[in-house]
């Protein structure tokens, strides 16, 4: 019962994050949404670890937090560079990657 609540919360957080990634124009907001998704996954990992009494999930969650910190660092650096070049961080105006 308790575990289901964790999972529900994680699913809600995930959905909010996905919405943020797809719908927001601001790059910083997209990064924050990615953080939400990652934390939703972390929540799942910890919840399943708690449900199965195996510590692996919690260790895995720690790794994810560390990597998320690195990812945010790289992401914010990119956003900063984009802002310096274009004076804007609106993602819908960025189409240099189009094939």
């Amino acid at each position: 019962m308790l575990a289901v609540n964790f999972l529900l919360l994680a699913a809600a957080l995930f959905s909010i994050g996905v919405y943020g990634v797809i719908a927001r124009r601001n790059a910083v907001m997209v990064l924050m949404s990615i953080e939400l998704i990652l934390n939703a996954v972390n929540l799942n990992l910890v919840a399943f670890a708690m449900m199965t009494d195996v510590v692996d999930g919690q260790v895995f969650a720690l790794y994810v937090i560390a990597i998320a910190a690195a990812e945010v660092g790289v992401g914010l650096a990119m956003v900063l560079m984009i802002y310096r070049n274009r004076r804007s961080i609106a993602l819908d105006e960025l189409s240099e990657m189009s094939g």
Binding site: V18, V21, I22, A23, R24, R25, V30, L91, D92, L94, S95, E96, M97, S98, G99
Partner: protein, 832 residues
């Protein structure tokens, strides 16, 4: 060989290392070719030094061979070791036969195929050692002569290189322990004769003569290859079984031929083929035509070629493989042999041809052919020893005669060899040359006590003694003819009034050639050659004019310089005394010991046990051989006292376990009457010839002058001889045309219609196949596949291009959408 087994034969460094005799000239050749032009004497010193070294080595080998032969008889007499071991060597029936002197063999294997080993090295027996010495000696003298004679020639270095290689080739052939090496030396000589005869190749006549010599000899050489092969297949099994040798080994071939196991199906064709090679090389009828043409070369070459190298090769081959010919042609039974007939024909026809030559060298050339006929006659009738002695003596006096002719042309007749035009009366101007010429002529005609007497008369005597009476008379007739044509040549050269260049005149060569041509027309002869003989002789004189022309035009004839005279004098000395090496007629007075050739050169016809011959040592079981049966099968059915005499080696098979290496040839007892007869006929020949020459060429007797123009019979005969029996016509116009032209035509037709057609068809087929493959497989299948894959990739890329919008949010949507789809699929799969 166990020391105790037989009387030990001495050997020595020179005998063991006889191969150096041939190796040194070969190296010298390479040195002359490589650096000769930069040496102070243009390479000639290398050639001379190599020949001198070979002479020293071969002299040493000769001395050691004599010691070896002596040691055999001494050892046997002193120790009697053979009897001590309970063994008795089978004896020839003529009392105490001397033991066989084994040749000293030294070989290296350079190639082996299975158990068949090909060796190269040296085989020293009496004949080989004698001729090695002879070749080295003559070659050295000829090279000394050449120093002055070809001085200033534009190819001076090459001349010495080729002449050194020439001698080297002869030495290689002489010492050959097997047929392969013999062929090697034989062919080296063929090549060098081509190079040297065509030395002045700028004249077409000379280069034609060189080609003619080469190809005529090649015709015979086919016989050598065929004969060697036949003998190999015949002898190989026997040689491997009994002597631990093979069918190329000369000693093995000798033993095989006399073993009694040699089938005549191998022996006879092999012997005939080998003799054809000798016909070509030694200028026997009917392949003698190249020898006179070979006069186109420089005189030293003619001299060397006609005395000790090249032409002697054929005689040597017969002498060395004598058992083969002995058995194949039944020489021992006194049958009329192929060899003897060819020899006899050659004696007469060549001697007759010598009468109509105006070129002094051509007279000598035909004389050589005739003398080679004597050698072959001797070999063909069982007179082995006199024939070999004749090789020995003939080399000296014929070499001397040629060098005299060279000396005359060099200093007396302004490079002309035409006796009628440019010589005459030279005896006062060139006394030393004249004396040497006379000595050699007397030696050639066999006058006592000159060298030829001891050999040629011995041949004639032995021919008669062996039962060939007709051939003996042919030989005597040849001796008469020899005396006559040599008288003619001598008279024309040294007596009478000086003519042309000998009288100090100097006329342009072209004019001379024309005159010569005119003479033939007046006789009415269709001139067979585009250039007349005199023109050919003169033509090469052109070439060496440049070097030493200056003194001739003014001085006229004079005696030659010391470099020319020294070899001539030495050779004349030998022409005088060489016969004393084997003075058979003196043997009755001074004992047999005086016949040193018989003792040291002729192999003994004594059977030898195999284990003594096999180099690897004696076999385990020593065969006990009883004394010979008192009467051999051949003797029982034989002809009285003749049969009793004719047994032993060469007449019946040797005892099992033994081998003969030489047949028991018989030797004639010279009698005073026979000597007188031969000397008498030669003297009569001289008398007639001198009388005729004085009358004819001295223009004393008007009836004789122009006889050939007046008498039809005589003119016919003259023209027949002048045209050399039309043999050249036969070869060049009939045989070459009849054989070569249809063959070449047929070959051309075959080439055009069969080979070309086949090639064309194949080509067309290939092109069609190629086109079809290109159109169908290459263009459609392979290209289609390649193009198709490219097209697919391109279209797929275009199709997917819109998804790559560059919008991060779109990428995210796709990513999450795909993840959602994947998750749904995962759930569905796991649930159901």
């Amino acid at each position: 060989m166990l020391a105790a087994d037989v009387a030990e034969l001495s050997s020595g460094w020179f005998l063991e290392n006889a191969w150096l005799i041939a190796l040194i000239p070969m190296i010298a050749f390479a040195v002359i070719i490589a650096v000769g032009k930069h040496l102070p004497m243009k390479g000639s010193e290398v050639g001379l030094a190599s020949m001198a070294a070979s002479l020293v080595l071969s002299t040493g080998a000769m001395i050691q061979w004599v010691q070896r032969t002596n040691s055999a008889s001494e050892g046997e007499e002193a120790a009697g070791l053979l009897q001590a071991f309970g063994r008795t060597l089978p004896r020839a029936t003529e009392g105490e036969a001397e033991p066989f002197i084994e040749p000293v063999v030294h070989t290296w294997v350079w190639w082996s195929s299975g158990s068949l080993e090909f060796g190269i090295g040296s085989l020293g027996n009496g004949l080989t050692i004698l001729l090695l010495w002879l070749v080295a000696f003559i070659s050295l003298l000829v090279q000394i002569f050449s120093l002055d004679y070809v001085r200033g020639d534009r190819r001076y270095t090459h001349f010495f290189a080729a002449i050194t290689l020439f001698s080297g080739g002869m030495l290689v052939m002489l010492m050959a322990p097997n047929m392969i090496q013999l062929i090697l030396g034989w062919e080296i000589m063929g090549l060098c004769s081509f190079l040297l005869i065509g030395h002045w190749w700028e004249e077409e006549a000379n280069s034609r003569a060189a080609l003619k010599a080469f190809f005529t000899v090649r015709v015979g050489d086919v016989g050598l290859l065929v004969g060697t092969s036949i003998i190999f297949f015949g002898a190989n099994a026997w040689a491997v079984d009994n002597l631990d040798s093979n069918g190329f080994d000369i000693a093995a071939i000798q033993a095989w031929a006399l073993s009694g196991e040699a089938g005549s199906s191998f022996l006879v064709p092999g012997a005939i083929a080998l003799f054809i090679a000798c016909i070509g090389k030694s200028g026997q009828f009917p392949l003698h035509t190249w020898l006179p043409d070979a006069m186109a070369g420089p005189t030293p070459v003619s001299s060397l070629l006609h005395s000790s190298t090249m032409v002697v090769a054929g005689v040597f081959l017969v002498a060395q493989l004598y058992p083969v010919f002995w058995q194949a042609f039944d020489i021992g039974q006194g049958s009329l042999t192929f060899i003897a007939i060819i020899g006899a024909i050659t004696i007469v026809i060549a001697a007759l041809l010598a009468f109509v030559q105006d070129d002094i060298k051509k007279v000598l050339a035909y004389s050589t052919v005739s003398q080679l006929g004597y050698m072959m006659l001797g070999l063909g009738t069982g007179a082995w020893l006199p024939a070999v002695v004749h090789i020995f003596t003939h080399a000296f006096f014929k070499c001397c005669l040629f060098l005299c002719a060279g000396s005359v042309s060099h200093s007396g007749s302004h490079h002309s060899f035409d006796m009628k035009k440019d010589m005459g009366g030279l005896r006062k101007k060139m006394p030393i040359t004249f004396t040497a010429w006379i000595v050699s002529t007397l030696a050639l005609t066999g006058i006592f006590p000159f060298a030829g007497f001891w050999s040629k008369d011995e041949i004639i005597d032995n021919v008669g003694n062996n039962g060939y009476t007709v051939l003996m008379w042919v030989g005597l007739g040849g001796a008469v003819l020899t005396a006559m044509y040599m008288t003619r040549a001598t008279y024309l050269t040294f007596f009478g009034e000086p003519r042309g260049a000998a009288a100090g005149e100097h006329h342009p060569d072209e004019e001379h050639a024309e005159e010569h041509e005119m003479e033939h027309i007046s006789v009415g002869a269709p001139e067979p050659e585009p250039r007349s003989l005199g023109a050919a002789a003169n033509a090469h004189a052109d070439d060496d004019h440049g070097g030493h022309d200056d003194h001739h035009a003014s001085d006229g004839p004079h005696e030659s310089g010391p470099l020319l005279l020294i070899p001539i004098v030495i050779l004349a000395f030998f022409a005088l005394f060489a016969g004393l090496a084997n003075p058979t007629p003196l043997a009755s007075r001074f004992g047999e010991g005086i016949e040193s050739m018989k003792k040291y050169v002729e192999p003994r016809a004594t059977p030898v046990p195999f284990e003594e011959v096999i180099a690897s040592g004696p076999g385990e079981s020593i065969m006990i051989i009883d004394g010979r049966p008192s009467a051999s099968p051949a003797a029982e059915e034989g002809e009285g006292e003749e049969g009793a005499k004719k047994s032993g080696c060469g007449f019946d098979a040797p005892e099992p376990g033994t081998a003969c290496f030489f047949p028991g040839v018989s030797h004639a007892e010279p009698t005073f009457a026979k000597i007188l007869l031969s000397l008498g006929v030669v003297a009569a020949g001289y008398a007639v010839a001198i009388a005729f020459n004085v009358a004819f060429y001295g223009r004393r007797n008007k009836h004789l002058v122009g006889l050939t123009e007046r008498s039809k019979v005589l003119r016919g005969g003259f023209l027949f001889l002048k045209n050399k029996y039309y043999l050249d016509y036969l070869y060049e116009n009939v045989i070459v045309r009849a054989v070569a032209h249809p063959i070449s035509k047929a070959t051309y037709w075959f080439n055009q219609h069969v080979i070309d057609a086949a090639v064309n068809d194949v080509g067309i087929g290939a092109r069609k196949t190629g086109t079809w493959v290109y159109d169908n497989i290459d263009q459609k299948v392979v290209d289609g596949a390649v193009d198709g894959s490219g097209w697919i990739a391109s279209e797929a890329g275009h199709g997917l291009q819109p998804t790559q919008s560059g919008k991060v949010s779109q990428y995210g949507a796709l990513l999450f959408g795909a993840a959602a789809v994947g998750a749904i699929v995962l759930v569905l799969v796991n649930v159901s």
